[in-house]
Point group: C2
Chain length 107, copies 2
DNA sequence: TAATCGCATAACTGATTGGTTATTGATAAA
DNA sequence: TTTATCAATAACCAATCAGTTATGCGATTA
């Protein structure tokens, strides 16, 4: 089932989690070990944050040997976009472009 | 100064706060008393949530006699939209699209 | 097989948070 | 002036959370 916008908001509310997500967006797929190197927190903390992001649908993991690779999930942001779409016309045109963007990213 | 996306995320992470904000978006300006009637929490709790939304730039207040009127602030969501555009676009292989996006968003 | 590595989980801790009731201040009404 | 109302603040509490260290488990390497 698709995660609700609530879990996405909560997942992104934490700056460390946002930072991890942003890094995965920028740098592409990363192992937990690589992510831990750049974060200033312990490996278990990174793993917990990744678990939160995963349950929110914002990342996917892939096992390769004993390494676990994480990558950002484009679709994970769509609940946010949907939620934003419900409110107001001020930012509507920006929103439309984002929806279009996410749609094309899906392909 | 413009609130960072962080405070907006944090403000919207709480379901009660989201609910208050959504109601203000739907119904328009409301007094604290009206908002309290529909929420299942006490008036001080509502006031605290409104203060959080206000400091995130998501609502504005207006005093009228002894009543305090709150209304949703459309522009308050733009840090979110900007953030989405920034990191959503990194999925794309080509950066020229991002530049185009940001350029049009500037107008 | 034994030792090591990569990661997740368990167990714990201090800080933060979302809620409460009590109180205060300001305005309106009697 | 006295009383009642609206909303913010204070003080407090239980629950959640983000971090830690210790441990366990599967996969690799010696």
């Amino acid at each position: 089932m698709k995660p609700a916008s609530g879990s996405v908001f909560r997942a992104l509310a934490d700056p460390t989690r946002r930072s991890l997500f942003e890094r995965l967006c920028r740098e592409g797929e990363q192992t937990v070990w690589m992510l831990t190197r750049h974060a200033r927190i312990s490996q278990p903390a990174v793993s917990k944050h990744l678990a939160a992001l995963k349950s929110a649908g914002l990342v996917r993991d892939r096992r390769e040997g004993r390494e676990m690779h994480y990558r950002a999930e484009a679709k994970g942001l769509s609940p946010l976009v949907d939620w934003l779409g419900l409110y107001g016309a001020f930012w509507r045109d920006r929103m439309d472009r984002l929806e279009d963007l996410l749609k094309r990213m899906d392909q």
